[in-house]
Amino acid sequence: MKSFKKLWPYLSPDKWLIVVAFIFAVASVFFKMAIPFLTGRAIDQIRTGDLDIAKYLFLMGGCLVFGVVFRYLFDLMTATVAQRAVKRMRDNLFDALNEVPISYIDAHYHGDLLVRLVGDIENVQNGLITGAGALFEGIVQVLVTLAFMFSLSWILALTVVVLTPISVFVSKAISSRNSRYFKKQSANLGQLSNQALETLNNIEAIHSYGLMEKQEQRFEELNQEYRASSFKAMFAASWINPATRLVNNTIYGAVIILGASLLLFPDAFSFTGIPFTVGMLSSFLTYSYQYMTPFNEIADAMTEVLYALTALNRVDEVIHETKDVDEGSTPVGEVVERLEAKDIHFSYDGKRPIIDGFSLDIYKGHKIALVGTTGCGKTTIINLLMRFYDSQKGGFYANDISTKEIQKKELRSHVGMVLQDTWLRHGSIRDNIAYGKPDATMDEIVLAAKKAHADDFIRRLENGYDTVVSSSSGLSTGEKQLICVARIMLLQPEIILLDEATSNIDLRTELQLADAFDELMKGKTSLVVAHRLSTIRNADHIIVLDKGKIIEQGNFRQLMERGGFFAELYNAQLA
């Protein structure tokens, strides 16, 4: 029921379609079940010697046509509803991923989030919606069949009703035992898959050291374990169908025996009221079969429904995650003249302070460099400035307006950034460079690539600028960084953030890039986090961070003369 509540918002816009589907289901099942009833009547008439059964044949033909039409409409309607619901769910989840705080994405495995968008929603569709469809249709079928059976003979109907749960019970018993085997099987498959993944990731090392044979041995062992558990799971599961069939046949036999007794000893069963006929027995044989089918189908669907429930919860969890609201409304003005950090305090976990009282004035046109050892909080400053995270106390001010009061969208439109973690969207190199400026001409794109020293290697690729790339594509990290740099060169943003943007680019190219960067940054505000200190010698102001505090600041010459932490760091890099 709780799960239904979670599912309902996606179904409710189509509630009238669901009502229509229900009507189709009732109509389709009614006409379907009327046919055996009419058959029984016709048989009885033939047994009396009256062979003119045209009336029944026409009625049956009518039922048949309506049955076919309504069945098709029902199937189509459930599929329509299901797929519309799935689309809504996917769109909602995608929106949620677009709106959750960056901290949420950082705290989760990316693969895990992606599985929710792709596989989990598939599971919801397969299990819950198809399963619910089976349930829906099944209930209608059971009710309609019961009505027909009781109208024929209550004692036989009662027998069928009492016996049917055996079949459900048997398949239930089998599947509950199976779930243990299935768990073991998927655990073993996981291990096997990890081994294959590790081999693929380390393939060069494996070939270099001739380890393939050992790897194959290890794979063989895991494969054997998988074979054993998989066999158990598979064989155990394959009991369900034959076992339920056996039970069904038994019930079929019981109906014959009881039906025959009713016919042979009508006096003993006179308390049942209506006299029993062979035609009724024929109808019953069909009904007893039809009555059981939905039970078995629902039992079959149960495993998938269970998967679907887990999946639904995982999807729902993301969708109901607190959104990263964009509450700001104060306009910042056309140009950011002044950027200021006022006594910023920040911690990711609320315990260990990462930024501890950070204040800084950034004037328009200045190049500010952030320097410090790993984990000193440099990247966090960028996260706070872009408002990927919000500080607990203090904050950045643009034109004397707290950035928390400015719409994130507006704030970010003033800034262009290149991060150490290069990200390329799946698409052509051309689209990637033009990411921030989709209307750029090809000449502009090539010019930007040339400035970023990326043009050379791009031309060497099979499809040049049309080569399709992605974050995990075959380009080297350095090459990807160059493409990200080209993005900024094209965009020419007002404020530039570089977070170790050239950390994977060789020195010579980096040096050549420096000129292009100087030109880009001319007259613009820039904040640079640098790994190689030589690249920030010409910064207007260098901030040295340690444990979230500013420990030194000044220009390069001042800091070197001071001979403090910065000078030590600088010399260590050259040693």
């Binding site: 070939h207 066999f231 034959p242």
Partner: protein, 576 residues
């Protein structure tokens, strides 16, 4: 060439025998309606041969039950064999896939797609396993029951037989047509799903950039268009599939109407008795159910079929790096040519080449430096030495003969390669260093010391037995590189190749490691770097730029003659 289904051959007998047992079950099911006919016509009808004989009716019911049990037993044997053969098959298939992965060169795997290859081992083999099992236990059931029912119907009455033949043929026709169309639609649907996955991946991995560039609205729109395409395609598939149930239902019931009609005017003349009508209806419903069950299998089968094609395509990739005929490598002395690249070109198919007519000579025992910028072709050059790829033009000579004449393993076992990728295995530090070979503690300690890894390894409580996570994720970049260098030194091979392997080390550590390596005499070392200081002491240096060798010689010569070398060097010196 290996094929996907090859492993099934050894179980061919079982693959055929199991469905035959299944046929017994079907036969039992086909006999039951005849028994019901006898019960009705002989036992329950006035004038029947056993009219009113309760014992007769009960006896026949007993036979019905007996046949059900017999059918059940036969089925269970089939199920057992099917599960056995299917898991056995999947076991062999996985082994074949895995060993094929090992046979292909890294660049072939890159081109094929590593995640695709992984999917073959994970998902494809499972869907094929299910496919084989389904094939053995269910595939024969539908055709056997259908054909059996038709024959049985003919036994009852020729006209009835014709009616049932017609109805079931129409059903089979409907199912057949739909089956022909669905796989294509299903593949199209999977492609849309892939597109959804790509968009999702971009959004999750690129969350910062998407937001920084204010692209949320755009990505949202893009996704909505894609999810709409997916929905439409899914609906297309459903629209086709939705024909199965109503049409088969329609044909079967049409046949029932016709049988009744036949019964009504043939009742006296040809003797389609009431019992026969009931039996015929049973045949029809049984066959219909079998056919419907069959259609449910189709999704599994079309998946297995598509996966079989994918596996076959994977097996069809011929390893491009294969052993040569040479049984034994010639012995060469220090100073003689170990490697020689003659006019070697490598291309990935682009406008310009990755390596362009490169000539390199590496004497045994020397130290060679290779320097160049990002994308200059250094790593491609290194791949040639380990024979991870072959040139498209020119020749790589190893110990005086074409490297293609050597056994691949014979070349690789001479080389200790430290590549840019931090390739560490899940396990312990010791396992990652020794890689299963036996070394003394002293040897291990020496390698660790030379690679400047000793201190941080022994600073850990468990020392050598400390855990290493997948890909060495619990170590910093510099620590990983030191472990990799220690591993290479420990292997004590003739040739040491460091491909930008000290990039995460500070300059001082870089220098110390190089000094330790230099002490190991007799070893040929190939140092590839972006830093001029790392290679300036090498016996001979090659300067690569845009795939071409633009300078070669000793450090001092290059400073004088090679503009690019000078620029690289000065870029570093400028720092100082």
């Amino acid at each position: 060439m290996m094929t996907t289904l090859q492993p099934l051959k050894k179980n061919a007998a079982k693959v055929i025998f199991a469905p035959m047992l299944k046929a017994i079950e079907c036969t039992c099911e086909l006999i039951i309606p005849f028994l019901v006919r006898s019960i009705i016509d002989d036992g329950l009808t006035t004038g029947g041969s056993h009219e009113g004989d309760g014992g007769y009716v009960l006896g026949l019911c007993g036979i019905v039950f007996g046949l059900s049990v017999l059918g059940f037993l036969c089925t269970m044997i089939t199920q057992y064999m099917a599960s056995k053969v299917a898991t056995e098959f999947s076991f062999d298939l996985k082994r074949n896939l895995y060993s094929h992965i090992g046979k292909l060169s890294p660049s072939q795997l890159d081109r094929y797609g590593k995640s695709k290859a992984l999917n073959l081992v994970n998902t494809a083999s499972f869907s094929l396993q299910t496919g084989v099992q389904m094939f053995m236990r269910l595939l024969i059931r539908a055709p056997f029951l259908v054909i059996g029912s038709i024959i049985a119907a003919f036994v009852v009455n020729v006209y009835a037989g014709l009616v049932i033949l017609g109805a079931l043929a129409l059903c089979a026709g409907v199912i057949g047509t739909i089956v022909r169309f669905t796989p294509r639609e299903y593949t199209a649907l999977m492609n849309e799903l892939d597109a959804i996955s790509v968009l999702g991946d971009d959004l999750i991995v690129g969350s910062r950039v998407v937001r920084a560039f204010n692209k949320q609205e755009e990505s949202r729109k893009e996704f909505r268009e894609e999810s709409e395409r997916y929905r439409k395609q899914a609906l297309r598939l459903s629209r086709i599939n939705a024909f199965i149930n109503p049409l088969t239902f329609g044909f079967v019931n049409l046949a029932i109407v016709l049988v009744l009609y036949l019964g009504s005017f043939q009742y006296q003349s040809t003797g389609i008795s009431v019992g026969s009508i009931v039996a015929l209806i049973s045949f029809l419903t049984q066959s219909l159910n079998a056919l419907i069950q069959f259609t449910r299998l189709i999704t599994s089968f079309s998946k297995a079929f598509a996966d079989r094609k994918r596996c076959d395509a994977f097996f069809a990739i011929e390893p491009d790096i294969v052993d040569g005929p040479l049984a034994e490598e010639p012995v060469i002395q220090d100073g003689e040519t170990l490697y020689e690249l003659k006019n070697v070109s490598v291309s990935f198919g682009g406008e310009s080449t990755a390596l362009d007519k490169v000539n390199v000579r590496i004497p045994k025992g020397s130290s060679i430096g290779v320097i160049g910028g990002t994308g200059s072709g250094k790593s491609t050059l290194v791949s040639l030495f380990s024979r991870f790829m072959d040139p498209v033009e020119g020749e790589v000579r190893f110990r005086g003969h074409n490297i293609k004449d050597s056994k691949v393993g014979a070349v690789r076992k001479e080389i200790a390669l430290v590549s840019q990728k931090p390739q560490l295995f899940k396990g312990t530090i010791r396992e990652n260093l020794t890689l299963g070979e036996a070394y003394s503690e002293q040897e291990i300690e020496k390698a660790l010391k030379d690679a400047l890894a000793y201190d941080f390894v022994y600073a850990k409580e468990a020392g050598l037995e400390s855990k290493v996570e997948e890909g060495g994720s619990n170590f910093s970049g510099g620590q990983k590189q030191r472990l990799l260098i220690a591993r290479a030194l420990l292997s004590n091979r003739e040739v040491l190749i460091l491909d930008d392997a000290t990039s995460a080390l500070d300059y001082k550590s870089d220098l110390l490691v190089r000094q330790q390596i230099k002490k190991r005499t007799g070893m040929t070392t190939i140092l590839v770097s972006q830093r001029a200081t790392s290679i300036k002491d090498c016996d001979y240096i090659y300067v690569l730029d845009a795939g071409k060798i633009v300078g070669e010689g000793k450090h001092e010569q290059l400073l004088e003659n090679c503009l690019i070398y000078r620029e690289i060097f000065q870029a570093q010196v400028k720092q100082q």
